[in-house]
Symmetry: C2
Subunit: 242 residues, 2 copies
DNA sequence: CCTCGCGAGCTGTGATCGCAGGAGCGGCGA
DNA sequence: TCGCCGCTCCTGCGATCACAGCTCGCGAGG
């Protein structure tokens, strides 16, 4: 009984940008939709994606879904388990540490590169996103939190004009997105601390070093939440179960 | 009777590793083959890839080729020009600088992470690759040089066990590979300087800082060759022409 | 001789079909 | 009642067909 609760790709979503992708290839729309679901954690690890199932759900044939999943597999977001199974990449402590290190390597750089190219209006927009993020945290809305978090970081990064660097970072988010969702759902979003304020202040002050430190702290904080409590193994187990 | 000069994927190549991929999905073989061609520069920018053409050349249907090209597009190696055209991503000065910065960010880190996990035998193997690389430089064999260069760097990186980081780096190589081939073919491989010796020495000495510096110098040197002579624009023009 | 228009061919994209194989489950034997 | 074996459904993979759109070349008109 799928009852098509999920939005079909070319359904007339009033707010969805799915309608905006009109004219674009179908597989691109499918890819964007799946990417959104992954980054915002709507797709949690362990669930069994299937080309036919997703095709049915999105109202398209299985061909675009195959293309989209192929792209996602190329970016490491999902793995094709030989035959018969295709699911989001399982998380291990090693892979988690690897992802964290990569994020710490790339994202502060991306933020600093964006610093001289941000005007006051852009900063104000980021601050608005941050406000909405705070509301999401207070309301305990994990999905909204992750969407705002994504919007904040990439609203900042995209200003740097470095498409290659940003693409690498997106690949990283694609990989830890589903995992973070599981973690936050496990922990609750109440414990989250908003570390973006310092970044915004550094942005307005034009202080590169402070910005670098703020972004690094944000990453380390959000993800350290897990490392500190040795949650990896527990979550790993949980993933295996579910 | 298509003269099939290029190796078909599952042709009975005696030396080819194409036979080794037996049992694996066909699209994976196609992807590996295309990736090799891109990284080693066998595919230069401006040439018109086509699913049907490649399928004919590789002896498969166009479906696996589509999957493979989709993956490569996801990694930024090729771009799908709306309709009717699919070619390797064009290079610009900005994108080049972006790629260079990303490489300088990631690769020294990957090398240092591999340092404590290399035994003497692995270092000897890297030294052997480096010797072969020198021979390729003296002989002016650009293809062999790029293959050896790839083997050297990733033979080193792969020891670090950080799959995510290495995958990011591979994506970068995939993007600048075809471009470097053009540059070297333009410049000639004779001007190349082998900067790997310092890295090998640092490896044997276990000196992380020296290794970091050596890798950074290797990258900056090989790619600075272009920046110093303001070759970007000329090559860019050349790409537009061809 | 030059220019403009139109048609054919080739392109990527999407749909449908067939195939081999693995996983889950029901039935049968002890 | 429990364990094992066979089957069946469903999966991903590959092939083939159909379609819309872009490009390029050829021919007609000035």
């Amino acid at each position: 009984m799928r009852t098509a609760t999920a939005a079909q790709i070319h359904a007339d979503g009033p707010t969805a940008d799915g309608a905006r992708t009109e004219g674009a290839p179908l597989h691109a729309s499918v890819y964007e939709e799946l990417r959104r679901r992954l980054i915002t954690g709507k797709i949690t690890p362990g669930v069994g994606l299937s080309t036919r199932g997703l095709a049915l759900e999105l109202g398209v044939s299985q061909m675009p879904v195959r293309d989209a999943l192929s792209r996602l597999a190329a970016e490491g977001a999902v793995v094709i388990r030989s035959k018969r199974r295709i699911e989001v990449a399982p998380m291990t402590a090693d892979r988690f540490a690897d992802l964290l290190a990569c994020r710490l390597l790339l994202e502060p750089e991306a933020a600093v590169a964006a610093l001289p190219r941000l005007d006051a209006r852009a900063i104000r927009r980021l601050r608005a996103i941050d406000t909405e993020l705070d509301r999401a945290i207070e309301g305990g809305d994990v999905i909204a939190y992750m969407e705002c978090n994504f919007a904040f970081h990439f609203g900042l990064y995209r200003a740097n004009g470095r498409a290659t660097l940003n693409r690498l970072i997106e690949a990283l988010w694609l990989q830890f997105g589903p995992f973070m969702r599981t973690v936050y759902g496990y922990y609750g979003a109440a414990n989250l601390v908003d570390q973006h304020r310092l970044a915004l202040d550094a942005l307005e002050a034009g202080d590169a070093d402070a910005l670098r430190a703020a972004i690094a702290a944000d990453i380390a904080d959000g993800m350290g939440l897990i490392g500190r409590s040795r949650l990896e193994t527990r979550v790993e187990t949980r993933l295996d179960v579910s």
